[in-house]
């Protein structure tokens, strides 16, 4: 009897531990996943996944489609609109079970997507960033080419702005096709609290030289010349790219990506040194690591910061400030010594909506319906209305709402842009480069030296080059 009980106890314990104890197999599988391009695994597995879903689809039951975006915050007008549209889609399409698995935190979103791909069950409709950093997903078949869908239904995308498709055009890498539709174009810009400048009887500084000259007076009056919320590490990445566009145009980006210039070469090092010098001169204020982009907005509204470096995505939020009338939007400051790059911008398309289902998969038709719904002209018209015309859109509108002052000011600059690029690292196939650059440049605010920062970035790039 005693032995029987022991056996039962041990069997139960072993059974439970086996669940977690897929450790051995798990480690093997993960390493296999790491060795094998994860997307190719997914491509192979997608057919088996599809097969398992076939009976349900064929049996007239609901087809389940998952959609993954970074829109999960109900407090944001744009994200709330997306959530409402998910509910509306569900009402209008009872034959499809649309599961919104969106999570706005970038790392969690990436983990969710990568895990779904590596486990052979890629999420059907998803947002991705495009550019070379996502080349693996495209070349290994995780992302489906939608060019035939666009050709079959030209009305679907006829009002899209053609230039926004560049980051999902991988023909330069020998991969033909269109791999997504742009969803959120943006442009970096600056917001000025004009009341501060009026109070000090100063002009709004639009060049770095003017900001350097204005800074002592602003600091003396107790204001932060340009608040920099370094707690969000994307702030440093955006800033470096925007700065490089104003100083070198896109030449530095091209050289860095081609490997013709090093990240610790004179050009990039010079830009990081400029940031460091401004930080040491108090232009960015202090305790930068203690606050994020929300903190920047709060400082602007609360008249603590004279300027914030931000982007078009914050126009709707700033419009809700009690003192929104005091805020003015201008382009990212340029250099008087480099007037030729005055209208070179960091911006363009941000996210792309893409699909993983392939023609012939049982969920393909449903997936395409979902994709078309969330990228349709009607979808963006609704969003345009929900945001009262504020912000930027990937499509042109026949009828326009009279936009708010900030959007109008932003568009004045945005429309003058002669060139526009996303963050430099996005153009590199080294997926981790973005995080490396953002994190390293952020260390300016913890006292690291520009040379060390540049060397560490180059070290990572070299290690990647040696390993690939």
């Amino acid at each position: 009897m005693r032995k029987k009980i022991m056996s039962a106890v041990l069997a139960s314990a072993m059974a439970v531990s086996l669940l977690g104890g897929c450790q051995g197999g798990g480690a093997q599988s993960s390493s296999q996943a790491a060795d094998q391009p994860e997307s190719s695994q997914a491509a192979e597995d997608s057919s088996s996944g599809a097969a398992s879903e076939a009976p349900a689809a064929a049996g007239g039951e609901k087809v389940k489609v998952r959609i993954l975006t970074r829109y999960s915050n109900p407090d944001s007008v744009r994200e709330r609109y997306f959530m409402d549209m998910v509910a509306k889609f569900q009402e209008e399409n009872p034959d499809i079970e649309l599961e919104d698995v969106s999570i706005s935190d970038e790392n969690s979103r990436d983990t969710l997507f990568k895990t779904s791909v590596a486990s052979g069950d890629p999420i059907e409709v998803f947002n991705f960033l495009g550019y070379a950093a996502n080349l693996d997903y495209v070349s290994n078949g995780v992302v489906t080419d939608i060019s035939s869908l666009i050709e079959e239904d030209p009305a679907w995308t006829e009002k899209y702005i053609d230039a926004l498709f560049a980051p999902v055009d991988y023909s330069a890498y020998g991969v033909e096709g269109t791999y997504g539709l742009p969803t959120a174009p943006y442009g970096v810009c600056c917001f000025y609290n004009k009341a501060i400048f009026d109070e000090l009887n100063m002009e709004l500084p639009e060049t770095w030289e003017a900001i350097e000259a204005a800074a002592p007076k602003l600091i003396e009056a107790g204001y932060i010349p340009m608040a920099f919320g370094a707690k969000d590490n994307y702030r440093a990445g955006h800033f470096l790219t925007a700065l490089s566009m104003k100083y070198y145009g896109d030449q530095l980006k091209n050289d860095l990506i081609a490997g013709d210039k090093a990240w610790n070469g004179a050009e990039t090092l010079g830009l990081i040194e400029k940031m460091q010098a401004w930080q040491e001169a108090g232009i960015f204020g202090d305790n930068n690591l203690a606050y994020d982009a929300n903190g920047e907005l709060a400082k602007l509204e609360n008249k603590e910061a004279a300027i914030i470096f931000s982007g078009s995505w914050n126009i709707a939020t700033i419009n809700e400030f009690a003192n929104a009338g005091d805020i003015v939007c201008k382009g990212f400051p340029y250099f008087e010594e480099k007037p030729e790059f005055k209208d070179e911008w960091m911006g363009g398309p941000d996210d792309f909506m893409a699909i993983s289902s392939k023609p012939g998969d049982p969920d393909y038709d449903a997936t395409v319906r979902v994709l078309k719904y969330f990228t349709s002209q009607e979808y963006y018209e609704g969003m345009y209305e929900a945001q009262s015309g504020a912000g930027t859109y990937p499509v042109k509108f026949d009828e326009t709402i009279e936009a708010d002052a900030l959007t109008t000011q932003f568009n004045e600059y945005y429309n003058k842009a002669t060139n526009m690029i996303g963050e430099i690292e996005q153009f590199s196939p080294m997926t981790s480069l973005m995080d490396v650059v953002r994190t390293e440049v952020t260390t300016i605010f913890s006292g690291d030296k520009a040379q060390d920062i540049a060397d560490r970035i180059q070290g990572e790039v070299d290690a990647y080059g040696a390993g690939s």
Partner: protein
């Protein structure tokens, strides 16, 4: 009136000092849950100028934090129960060396401590997908129990080894079965150690994010951590509703703590010197 010694005064000053340090995050969280974003950043320590009840409405209606709290509680309590029952039985067998291969068994269970749970994320996701286990309570409870099994096993085995064998022998003499010995004799005696394992498991599951984020995609199944993360917008974080959600998610833990205060404190104290 009793005269205070210099040591007593120092002790009281330090007590007040540490009280303030520990109460500060709670104060900050509660106060911030009644403010809007701008006020949170601008007047961090001050009381709200205007109470933002909307944060709580948003936490309950938009975020669905109450359902998330319920889900987290179900997963935590379920996993905790499974861990306590199975680990106590397994720990007894191993601690008393009732089997010839007890040593090997101990090593097998402890191996789980050496491997980070997230190293098995992909195989677990694959297994859950293949078996249709996603968005279901029981498989998640078993997974969480498995992940927390090794640590609790390590603690409880150590504690049971410190319990005198004579108690078992006396029970056997009185005709008690092995199951009876475990649950009638060992369980009450080793309860401080068992509670330590239970508390650690409960909190680990209550705060877990990665498995919950990847395996629970149905909105109705999401847990507190996933819901809170959702408030961190793409480029805008809603701190007011986030703090309101945190306050609401702390309440059940606080209730559990108040109900089982003695056991919890006993368990923590036992954990400090055992294992």
């Amino acid at each position: 009136m009793k005269k205070l010694k210099a040591g007593d005064i120092l002790y009281r000053i330090l007590a007040v000092f540490f009280f303030l340090i520990f109460v500060y995050p709670i104060y900050f969280t509660v106060v911030s849950s009644f403010k809007n974003n701008t006020e949170i950043w601008n007047t961090m320590f001050a009381l709200p100028s205007r109470i933002e009840w909307g944060n709580y409405v948003s936490a309950v209606v938009d975020v669905g934090i109450l359902r998330a709290v319920l889900n987290s509680f179900i997963f935590s309590f379920g996993a905790c129960l499974v861990v306590v029952v199975l680990v106590t039985m397994a720990a007894y067998v191993v601690a008393r060396k009732l089997l010839r291969f007890s040593g090997a068994l101990r090593m097998y269970y402890l191996l789980g401590l050496m491997i980070p749970p997230y190293a098995m994320l992909i195989p677990v996701v694959t297994m859950f997908t293949e078996l249709g286990f996603r968005d279901k309570y029981w498989p998640m409870i078993l997974l969480y129990a498995a992940v927390n099994f090794p640590m609790s096993f390590y603690l409880i085995t150590g504690y049971i080894e410190g319990v005198s064998k004579e108690l078992d022998e006396a029970a056997i003499m009185d005709g008690c079965s092995t199951t009876g010995i475990i649950f009638r004799i060992i369980f009450p005696v080793a309860s401080p150690g068992i509670f330590t394992g239970a508390i650690i498991s409960f909190l680990a599951v209550y705060n877990e994010l990665i498995f919950a984020n990847t395996l629970l995609t149905n909105q109705a199944m999401k847990t507190i951590s996933v819901r809170l993360l959702g408030l961190q917008g793409e480029r805008f974080t809603s701190y007011g509703p986030m703090f309101a959600s945190i306050v609401l998610s702390i309440l059940p833990i606080l209730a559990v703590y108040l109900l089982f205060q003695e056991k919890v404190e006993g368990g923590i104290a036992a954990g400090a010197v055992k294992g």
